[in-house]
């Protein structure tokens, strides 16, 4: 049994089912990130682990003990809120020591723990300040310090960096990773930012519409998504989805036509039943601009109208509209800006993924040129 086990958990608010049959195992010391769009149930799941919400059905166990009926404070979890939730009338020291004081811990222990946490988070100089006198990053550190002081078995972070500016967010992300390395405690982190999730997670849990879509190492999810949602959600810029029509099948080879309105390709896959149309998933880095008009060896050829170009310095992303109106993004070098109205693309079909109309991944598909 894993350290933290979520078994068949559902949660309903009235007639609204927020979580539907969620099961997940988390090992001790793992850094797990729940990621998904707003309203996917990730925060609710976090709140249920800490005990602020009760599951409608199913069980949650920590360290082998079912905690469904255990008081939040006694579960051994500590949570860092998006709003920091610092007590404005207390100093940093009082904020960090609040939990220990409520538990009636001896003064010497309180001082020792707070000073230790303050040293880890470089807060020693700020212990006498009130939250109003702190910057956003400092407040965030105090909120983390308040969690550390309790020496929990599981740290829970509810979108803790979303109130910070971009630069500080990157810095705090690095600090969180360092903190995890140093403490070795299980951490569960909720975010809607997939870049944050990719950079932090040992295990990334993608959620959508109250269900776990896929859980695994970030790069596994990036390379090998289970469905169209995960494929589209993980990665920035997001994966291109090209509609295609099944033109025929030759044993293990599926012939596709009308890709983006005009292209044709063959992909190694078995002919699915009752399916006429599929979608090809290709990441921007697997789409190439080709100079001239003919891609080599008659590979997948797509022609598109250049809509705009995002220049990021080392590289640029070109946004194009294909013949059928599908918008695709292709990674290009610095000279992409010189592009004129139309451009020709070719795709790296070995990296292409196939999705059936219901969004499921059609596995075992690798492409060859038509």
């Amino acid at each position: 049994m894993a350290f933290l086990e979520i078994s068949s958990v559902t949660k309903s608010f009235g007639s609204v089912n927020v979580l539907k049959d969620v099961s997940l195992s988390i090992e001790e010391g793992e850094f797990v990130v729940f990621v998904g769009p707003s309203g996917c149930g990730k925060s609710t799941l976090l709140r249920m682990i800490t005990g602020l919400e009760d599951p409608t059905s199913g069980t949650i166990s920590i360290g082998g003990e079912v905690v469904n009926d255990v008081e939040p404070a006694k579960r051994g979890t500590a949570m860092v809120f998006q709003s920091y939730a610092l007590y404005p009338h207390m100093t940093v020291f009082q904020n960090m020591s609040f939990g220990l004081r409520m538990a009636g811990s001896p003064k010497a222990l309180i001082h020792e723990r707070v000073e230790k946490a303050a040293a880890i988070l470089r807060l020693e100089q700020l212990l006498d300040r009130k939250p109003a006198q702190l910057s956003g990053g400092q407040k965030q550190r105090v909120a983390i310090g308040r969690a550390i002081v309790r020496e929990p078995r599981v740290f829970l972070f509810d979108e803790p960096l979303s109130n910070l500016d971009a630069e500080l967010r990157v810095q705090m992300r690095a600090e969180l990773m360092e903190l995890h390395r140093r403490l070795g405690t299980t951490m569960i982190y909720v975010t809607h930012d997939q870049v944050e999730a990719m950079t932090l997670a040992d295990k990334m849990v993608v959620m959508h519409a109250g269900r776990i879509q896929q859980a695994g190492a970030p790069l596994d999810l990036y390379d090998n998504p289970d469905n169209r949602f995960v494929a589209g959600f993980v990665g920035s810029p997001k994966m291109n989805f090209l509609p295609a029509r099944i033109a025929g099948s030759d044993g293990q080879v599926l012939k596709l036509g009308g890709i983006g309105g005009q292209g044709a390709a063959s992909i190694q896959a078995t002919l699915p039943r009752d399916v006429e149309n599929v979608e090809i998933g290709l990441r921007p880095e697997h789409l190439r601009m080709v100079s001239g008009t003919t891609p080599a060896n008659g590979a997948l050829r797509l022609e598109g109208r250049v809509v705009f170009c995002e220049e990021l310095g080392a590289e640029s992303y070109v946004h194009l509209d294909l013949a059928d109106g599908t918008r695709v993004i292709a990674r290009a070098g610095r000279d992409a800006a010189k592009m004129t109205d139309t451009a020709v693309l070719t795709g790296d079909l070995d990296r292409a993924l196939l999705f059936s109309p219901d969004g499921a991944r059609m596995r075992g598909a690798t492409g060859t040129s038509a």
Partner: protein
């Protein structure tokens, strides 16, 4: 208030100041007249040739000494202060406990209960005073401190005001305290109460003003001289058959007005802050 950025004197500025000064005079004049009457020789301020300034400090002091020495004024002061202090304490305690529940937690019948309490604000005191008197009387609380204090403890207005403040406390903060292991009461005591301190101070001042100036309820429930409040004693001085000259009556009035005046002068900033901030606590 915006600071005037233009040094130029406009008609509008002059009118504004004239109006403000006029209002100030209207507000201050009765108090000043009271002081004038007290600290003058008897009859002088109301003579054919009245003066607008005090003429004899000694005469005033003599009248104050006479009132303290010859009437039960000092005892009434004690009764009134205790009455006000206990009422403030009770109103704050009961109001804040109830507001904590109403503002931050869900429970069955919450909306209906709150609506009923708010409806009670619309019932005039005159309607409830007789049933309240009968109840107090049947409890055997006539001429007792609890008879004075207890019926005034449940303040719908106080509850309303504190609910506005506590409702603005972020839920995250309450949940953080719960995760920190604070009990329900500890959350109230360590988190909710300190966060609405300004509202509590405002409510305390308003309750003091109301209790100190309350005339009708003490008059009905405390009929024995030893339980008279300041209001009642001043009432005796003002009574048609009291045989007191106007300057002595004014002295009694002035003495009664001093505590609320002091209270207001000390806390006026808090009062304004509290009223201005209600519902926008951050």
């Amino acid at each position: 208030m915006t600071a005037p950025s233009r040094p130029r004197l406009t008609v509008w500025t002059v009118l504004k100041w004239a109006l403000a000064i006029l209002v100030a005079i209207i507000a201050v004049f009765p108090v000043w007249w009271m002081i004038n009457v007290v600290f003058s020789l008897p009859g002088e301020p109301v003579s054919i040739n009245p003066r607008l300034w005090p003429t004899s400090i000694a005469a005033g002091i003599e009248k104050i000494q006479m009132i303290f020495a010859e009437t039960g004024y000092l005892r009434a002061y004690g009764v009134s202060l205790l009455y006000a202090a206990l009422t403030i304490f009770g109103v704050l305690l009961i109001g804040s406990l109830a507001a904590f529940e109403f503002a931050l937690f869900e429970f069955r019948g919450k909306r209906v209960l709150f609506a009923v309490i708010m409806l009670s604000l619309m019932v005039p005191t005159a309607v409830t005073i007789i049933p309240t008197y009968l109840l107090t009387s049947s409890l055997g609380w006539l001429n007792t401190m609890q008879g004075l204090v207890v019926p005034g403890l449940a303040s719908a207005f106080g509850l309303f005001m504190l609910v506005q403040f506590m409702g603005a406390i972020p839920r995250d903060m309450i949940e953080a305290a719960r995760l920190d292991g604070a009990s329900h009461f500890q959350i109230y005591w360590h988190v909710a109460l300190p966060l609405c301190r300004n509202a509590l101070v405002t409510l305390a001042i308003l309750t003091f003003m109301q209790t100190w100036g309350n005339y009708m309820w003490p008059l009905i429930v405390a009929t024995r001289p030893e339980m008279y409040t300041v209001g009642q004693v001043v009432g005796l001085f003002n009574a048609p058959l009291s045989h007191q000259t106007v300057d002595v009556v004014m002295t009694a009035n002035l003495l009664a007005a001093i505590p609320p005046l002091l209270f207001f002068l000390i806390f006026q900033r808090k009062i304004v802050e509290g009223i201005a901030m209600s519902g926008t606590k951050g």
